[in-house]
Amino acid sequence: MKKYAPLATLVAVVLLGAGLLVANMLSNPANQTTSAAPPSAAVAAAPSEWASAAAAPAPESAPPAAPVVAEKAYTGRSAGNEVTVAIAVKDGKAVAYACDGKKIEAWLEGTLTGGDLTLQGKTSSITATTDEKATFGTITVDGKEWPFSAKGVVSPAGLYEGRGTLAGVATRVGWIVDEKGNVTGVQSGNGTREPAPPLDPSNPGATTIDGTPVAVTALDGNSEVIPR
């Protein structure tokens, strides 16, 4: 027994680590709707609460229509200016960010099939139709549904994600830069949301929160986002 005591210690460490990892994965809110399914399958398997609000997705057996736009970003607002919306599409994939610049935000990802955009976040969804010039549709965030429109824009307009560690708290920031250069954003960390720090779209590398640098990425439709 004594001979194997160090191995037993190693095994105990591995088991504890694995147990905690599994507990984390099971309780991660981002995993509860998408569970073990890969992201694309999760989008196809629409959870019922938003499938009713969404246009019926094409049957899975039918070949998906080619996306009408190869790569484009759109920015706009909901009809009553409740949220600013940005969507980026690339090669049939899409990501979106919506926020009010104060407390509301949503990260979504999904697909562009033909001219139909379908995106899903943790507690949000977007269904819209799009062409080169504009996107029109409906966005739902935390149970509230708003019609929105968004114009096709060129860089530096679009959506940006920032990540940093602020006083030890992993912090995520989303910004939308519209075609006029107006910036709307929300930062979230440790379960709270607040207005984002300023972003200079021509120099995103210089972004800081209270002096702490934040790594900023301009997102395209192919980017990985964590739906929230």
Binding site: A5, L7, T9, L20, N24, A170, I226
Partner: protein
């Protein structure tokens, strides 16, 4: 002389296995940490104001136990002029086990919620030592009961202790100095 050759070979083999497995552990953790998408989410431990405070205190507990490790090891190796009590070995083993188990929730949170980051020097050093710590710890466990040269155990023990100290300095101490001594 010939009789020593197989022994030397056995020692070398045990060392290669221990260091090899340890290196794999360290590199594996680093690869997982950098390829896994950080989720910015983790279970919070009951009784602490934030996950970060919990981590800082768990790591502090581990560091204090590591100091016990260092002192008890020095006594066992006769470097402190006191008569080694009979329970010193048990103290060393159990404080070590407790220390490494305390580090596990911290490491899981680091790897799962944050990942391997290189954005600033403190974070890069912390990420590197985090991977190195578990590699060195694995190697030390494998060396304990194997037939290895006498220097292997204290060197690995020292590496584990140094790595944990560096981890504690780059995280807990940093947290306490920026956020205050919060629970």
């Amino acid at each position: 002389m010939n009789a020593h050759v197989p022994a030397r070979n056995r020692q070398t083999r045990a060392l290669v296995v221990a260091f090899g497995v340890g290196s794999l552990v360290a590199v594996g953790l680093g690869v997982y940490g950098s390829t896994h998408e950080p989720v910015f989410f983790a279970l919070n431990l009951a009784g602490f104001s934030s996950g970060l405070a919990a981590k800082a205190w768990l790591a502090t507990g581990a560091f204090l136990l590591a100091v016990v490790q260092l002192v008890s090891a020095l006594i066992m190796y006769g470097r402190i002029p006191v008569r080694a009590p009979s329970w010193i070995g048990g103290l060393h083993r159990w404080s070590g086990r407790a220390a490494v188990l305390l580090t596990v929730p911290v490491a899981v949170h680091c790897l799962y919620a944050l990942g391997f980051q290189a954005g600033e020097p403190r974070v890069l050093v912390h990420s590197l030592f985090g991977c190195f710590f578990y590699g060195a710890f694995t190697a030390k466990m494998l060396v304990l009961r194997a037939d290895t040269p006498n220097w292997a155990l204290p060197v690995l023990g020292g590496a584990v202790f140094s790595a944990l100290t560096a981890l504690w300095l780059t995280a807990s101490v940093w947290f306490f100095t920026t956020s205050g001594l919060t629970f």
